[in-house]
Structures are given as C-alpha cells and as structure tokens.
Subunit: 157 residues, 2 copies
DNA sequence: GTTTCGGCTGGGCATTCTGCCCAGTGGGGG
DNA sequence: CCCCCACTGGGCAGAATGCCCAGCCGAAAC
C-alpha cells in the first residue's frame, strides 16, 4: 500500500507524457525495460493506476458551465436518488457525504440558462428535498495528482 | 465545437479500452486507419481530448479519505488563497464559485484524524475566514464522461 | 453546371515498439 | 548461509506506428 521513488518517478513521467511507451519510459528512468514494465504492471494490479482513459473537456463538447449541487435527501431514498442521478448525463460525479442525507454532485450545462434545465431534471424526484447550487467561475487548481504522488513517495523514504 | 457520431464512438471506445492503438481502433470503428488517426488528432487539437494521463487512485496511495471543503474568503485575498492551496498536495482540485468569495476544494487525507491536519494546513492563512467540510462516504457515480459524450453526439444528429 | 476542396479509402514502406523469452547478478530476509 | 526476488541486458518474431501516395466522393463555392 505504498510506493517508492521509482514508482513515483514513473507516475510523474506518465502524467506529464502519457503517450510514451514502456521502452522510452525505461530510458528516461534509467532502468531496464523489464523493470519499467514490471513496475507499471504492479501499479495497475495494486489499483494505484486505475486506467488511462482520455480526459475529455466538457467545455469542448459544448458544456462550458460547471456547477456543484448539494442535495438534501429524504431518509431512505438514497438508492432511488443514486439511480436517478446516474441516468442524467450532465451529472459527472456524485458523492454521498456526512450530514443529514446529503449528496454532492458535479454538474455541467450548455449555458447558465441550460443549467436550470439540468437542475430541474436533477430535482425532479420525490426523494430530493432541496438542492443548493454553486456555479463554478474559475478553476485555479484543475484535478491533479502529481503533488500527492510526490508526497506519498517522500513519506516512504 | 461539436462532435459527430464517429467522434463519439471513438471517445467511448477509447474510454472503455484506453490502451488500444489507432490500428485496432480503426478496425473496431470500421474505418480506415488514416481516418481514425485524423479524428483522434483533431479531437486533441480542438481540446476535446486534453490528454491520457494515468488515473491514480488516492486511496491506493494511502489517502482513502476524501472531503469537500467550502471556503469563505476575505475580500481581495483570492490570489493569496489560490497560491496557498496550490502548495498543499492534499488539495486535488480547487474551484471558485458564485457566492461571497467562496471556493470549493477537494481534499484527501490518510485518515479522518489526518484530515484535521490537512484542514488546519488549508485554513492556516489569513485570507480564509471559515471552512466547512463534508466528508465523502460513498461515490455512487465516479467521475465519468461517456454519458455526456453520447448526449453531445445525439444533439448533433 | 462545373470546379475546388476537404475528408475518407486502401495500400506500401522503413522504423520502432511490444510481448515474451533467457541467463546472470546482487542484496535482504528467513 | 542460502534462497528468493527484483533487476539487468540481451535476443526474437510479430505488430503497430509515422509517413507517404493516388484515387474517390460529396458538398460547398463559383
């Protein structure tokens, strides 16, 4: 459940230049190809690397508006709400959080006006008592993992 | 600023099996290799595909606790706060949102107890007036993009 | 109507990478 | 003290890549 410096360097390298192959990776890291290959395989096995899915920009798909909605859920309606929200394409992410039946979800929309449509669709379910929405204006720190990887590697030293 | 059905099929295919190459992709899609290559290049140029970074699971790095913190910011301190939070590895993401100087950030920690340390570090700055934290218990819908891609393709038809 | 142009096809080419194998080495744990 | 595991450095066939080409087609421009 931990990574060493070589793993960390590998992850950072992969994060910066995802398209490089195992051979090039081994060259940059200064290890044999088999080693790089084995490390990579192990990271995937252990679940550290979940996958290499393409990062798609919703804005480039025509959904430039992002918002976070906090949902207050009626007791015992959790499963219904989850299923409902999973069926809404504009819901990119859903978490259940501490607090009285609360959920937090990330939404996207084609415009601020369109956001209303999305929210209406989200709350169009009995199990949802109330929704409080915060529209994202800026994203000073986009989802990142490198600093954490480096921190995790340091903690092991 | 839009994608057609072939683009959508390509994105979905790529999301499901990220490691397949251009040749295999063209076979699955039933088009010439050059076409698949060209579509892929264009999607990257247009910014629809931002990259293929590895998806790293913080839990597997030893950070199984995720939380969202809403920060109330003192007027005019935005830049300081952004710089401060960018320097904290456990801050995976930061957004500025509508509302009075509010920000929303995603945090991870090694444990619930460790979360206290992270929050302390986050709020250790004059510019931050107050922090309200919600700990994530479940993640019924992990960050996803496929449904939105399919929706975007349908809207074009 | 006719021309032009961008996208797609299907193919060929040299280069590179992959997946898989091997024997040999070195250090740490049993 | 020995064994095991990780790493090294190498070889091999097969596959994919990057890059080129000529030809075809439909749509938009003229």
């Amino acid at each position: 459940m931990t990574i060493d410096r070589l793993d960390a360097r590998l992850l950072v390298l992969l994060a910066r230049e995802p398209r490089i192959g195992v051979l090039e990776m081994s060259r940059r890291l200064g290890v044999a190809r088999g080693t790089a290959q084995a490390r990579l395989d192990r990271l995937r096995e252990r679940g550290v690397i979940r996958g290499f899915g393409p990062e798609v920009d919703p804005a480039a798909l025509g959904y430039p508006v992002t918002a976070f909605a906090t949902l207050e859920i009626r007791q015992g309606q959790g499963a219904d709400v989850r299923a409902h929200l999973a069926g809404v394409p504009e819901v990119l992410e859903l978490h259940t959080t501490t607090g009285s039946g609360d959920m937090l979800c990330r939404l996207v929309a084609r415009s601020n006006a369109d956001l209303q449509r999305v929210i209406d669709r989200v709350v169009a379910l009995d199990g949802i008592v109330r929704a409080s929405t915060a529209i994202v204006m800026e994203n000073p720190v986009p989802l990142r993992i490198i600093p954490l990887v480096e921190q995790a590697a340091k903690d092991v030293e």
